[in-house]
């Protein structure tokens, strides 16, 4: 590892050179000015693979300042391997303070989740986006989808959602559930579970989305209207869980299912590790958890 650290010394603050950061910031500003619109940007080749957060990393690198406090999560957790890897990348290249506490962070880079704690006005949430185009699986051609967005022609999407209902009785999208931003652009919220969709609406924090491989940046400015697509007779419904978190007893958080044995044993625990820890420190105990003081020993 020491060799890697030495190699980083020759690089600029937060890895990217200042010209590249300016180019990315211009794209971000445009994205903020046109909420939900996908702005093409000259995505760079990063030292981690495409599909592993290169878009989010570039956005974070472009907005990070020396006084920022960075949190990185993947699947809601700070300790998943790729979150650890990206956090280490910025520790090495920017030397910024990092944290696992949602409240303490000024920049939060995420893959697949929005933290449970309500975000604040001084915070920026940076999403890693694999496929930014919500219409991609209905129309594979970029030339076509850009035209559809320009004309706000979203009939295809509504037909797709209707067909789901006709076939399954439900809209069969459980993550990357499409939203309408500021009454204009249909946007892919990245593969967050639809459970998280309501958190995007009227959010105090700035939300930035970076897709490195597809070379797109888009944004939801603070306090913007974000509506999950639905029908009057089939209103949008967030995923609900039938049991509380086994460790902290939370009933309002998104849960991961953990297989505990090969006899069908299952337990459900908070996907947001910081949320779960905070609750346990506050004295909440789930049916399989134990009080924090004892667990610490």
């Amino acid at each position: 590892m020491s060799r890697t650290a030495e190699n980083y010394r020759g690089y600029n603050f937060a890895y990217l050179d200042e010209q590249t950061k300016r180019m990315i910031r211009r794209a971000i500003l445009k994205a903020i000015a046109i909420p939900g619109y996908q702005v093409p940007f000259a995505s760079r080749e990063m030292p981690m693979p495409y599909g592993w957060g290169t878009g989010g990393v570039q956005v974070t690198a472009a907005i990070l300042g020396p006084s920022d406090v960075l949190k990185v999560i993947d699947q809601g957790a700070d300790d998943t391997t790729n979150a650890v890897s990206i956090r280490q990348f910025f520790e090495k290249t920017a030397g910024v303070e990092t944290t696992t506490e949602t409240e303490k962070a000024t920049v939060i880079q995420t893959r697949h989740r929005i933290p449970e704690a309500k975000l604040q006005g001084h915070q920026v949430l940076v999403y890693q986006v694999p496929i930014p185009e919500p219409l991609r699986f209905l129309e594979p051609r970029e030339t076509e989808t850009r035209t559809l967005h320009a004309l706000a022609e979203y009939g295809l999407m509504h037909v797709r959602l209707y067909e789901d209902i006709a076939q399954h009785g439900h809209i069969a999208k459980t993550y990357a559930y499409p939203v309408l931003v500021a009454d204009r652009y249909v946007m892919d919220p990245s593969p967050i579970p639809k459970f998280d969709n309501p958190k995007m609406d009227d959010c105090a924090a700035l939300q930035l989305f970076g897709a490195g491989r597809e070379k797109r940046i888009y944004a939801i400015p603070p306090y913007t209207k974000v509506v999950s697509l639905d029908f009057e007779d089939h209103p949008f419904e967030a995923t609900k869980f039938e049991q509380p978190c086994a460790l902290c007893g939370a009933t309002d958080s998104y849960l991961d299912e953990v297989i505990t044995d090969d006899q069908g044993g299952r337990m459900f625990v908070c996907s947001d590790t910081h949320h779960c820890e905070t609750r346990r420190c506050e004295g909440h105990v789930g049916h399989l958890g134990m009080p924090v003081t004892e667990a610490a020993e």
Binding site: T4, P49, T143, H168, P193, R213, T239, L288
Partner: protein
């Protein structure tokens, strides 16, 4: 009891140590030097330089060593390094007619000015394992012929063009800005300069398969190898501030010009058309594949119906880059359990609803 996936940091550090250990292999076997790779695995070096878009044999050799011979991984290392380098500008267009030829063949003419030069090629070798090489390879020195430095090797396509039988190269346009898809995101439809740049750094296997598909009828374009040439070309850089042309050195290139079936009309005389392939180093397979795909992608321009994958610009250019492809395919290794959980929840709900319907209306369920 529940054990969270903790300790990611230590696991990552240890995995890095382990992969270094595996790379080294048995320590009783002498370590591979980058000079050995550069000299003795030179075609691997050529491929890494081409798809890595960086002409540096030493770095390519290092990347191959570090990547344990995984060439896509090596290309990735080179790309990630290249992206950090400052960009001074663009070289003067290379003149491949001025190439110091080491190999030059044409399949359209039996003989031609400069002649056919077979050069270092696997063509016509019998692919028999050379068991003696396993012990030691000390080949006889090559046979050489006197070189006539005054000998010119005009490009075959230029010879055909003298009779106006092939489409002209587009006219020079020195003021025209050069597209660079590493600096500006690619938009469609793309100009030919960007298409060629994309193909030049595209995955060899992908180009090969697409080129092959055109030969089997998926966008057929009746190709002849007008010429393949390989050798050294000087790279020059114009510095108007200093009023001089600086030579940056020589690069080895492989160029392939395909001559393809005609375009013409009742009013316009028929002409052969061109497909172009260029590669760093000695990469004939890649230059040939590239020229087939380049020609196929000119379907619109030449008024041909686009019916096949190789003719589909968005399809080809969006999927040719193996660094993008490998990243996105391999990202499926990353945890997806949040989304999987959402799918599980819906699946269970739908099954429950079906069961409820079946128990209340047994006949309806049949």
């Amino acid at each position: 009891m529940y054990v969270a996936v903790k300790g990611g940091e230590r696991a990552i550090a240890n995995a890095h140590r382990l992969v270094e250990h595996e790379r080294r292999g048995d320590r009783n076997v002498p370590e591979l030097g980058t000079e050995q790779i550069e000299q003795q695995l030179s075609l691997a070096v050529d491929r890494v330089m081409s798809e890595g878009s960086l002409y540096d044999r030493g770095l390519a050799a290092l990347a191959i060593k570090q990547a344990r011979g995984d060439l896509i991984e090596a290309i990735f290392l080179i790309r990630a390094y290249r992206t950090t380098l400052p960009r001074f500008g663009f070289s003067v267009p290379l003149d491949t007619a001025d190439m110091a030829i080491r190999r030059r063949i044409s399949s359209t003419y039996k003989d031609l000015p400069g002649g056919q030069v077979l050069g270092p090629t696997f063509d016509y070798t019998h692919r028999l394992l050379d068991f003696a090489l396993a012990a030691e390879g000390n080949p006889a020195p090559p046979v050489t012929a006197p070189v006539d430095t005054a000998e010119r090797f005009p490009r075959v396509t230029d010879l055909i063009a003298q009779d106006d039988l092939i489409e002209r190269n587009p006219p020079e346009n020195p003021g025209q800005p050069v597209g660079d898809l590493t600096r500006e995101p690619l938009a469609f439809p793309a100009e030919r300069d960007l298409r060629l740049q994309n193909l030049a750094r595209g995955d060899e296997g992908f180009l090969l398969a697409l080129g092959y598909s055109t030969q089997r009828g998926y966008g057929r374009n009746h190709p002849f190898v007008g010429e393949i040439r390989m050798g050294e070309v000087e790279v020059e850089f114009d510095i108007p501030e200093l009023g001089l042309m600086a030579s940056l050195g020589e690069v080895t290139l492989t160029e392939c010009q395909m001559v393809n079936q005609f375009k013409g009309s009742l009013t316009e005389p028929a002409k052969f058309t061109r497909g172009y392939g260029l590669s760093f180093g000695h990469c004939e397979r890649r230059a040939m594949s590239m020229s087939l795909v380049d020609r196929a992608l000119r379907a619109d321009e030449l008024g041909e119906e686009r019916t096949s994958p190789a003719q589909d610009e968005e399809f080809v250019l969006s999927h040719s880059d193996n660094i993008q492809a490998t990243g996105f395919v391999e990202h499926l290794k990353l945890p997806h359990y949040v989304d999987f959980q959402a799918e599980l929840a819906l699946l269970r709900q739908m099954r429950r609803e079906l069961e409820t319907r079946a128990s209340t209306h047994p006949e309806a369920a049949e």
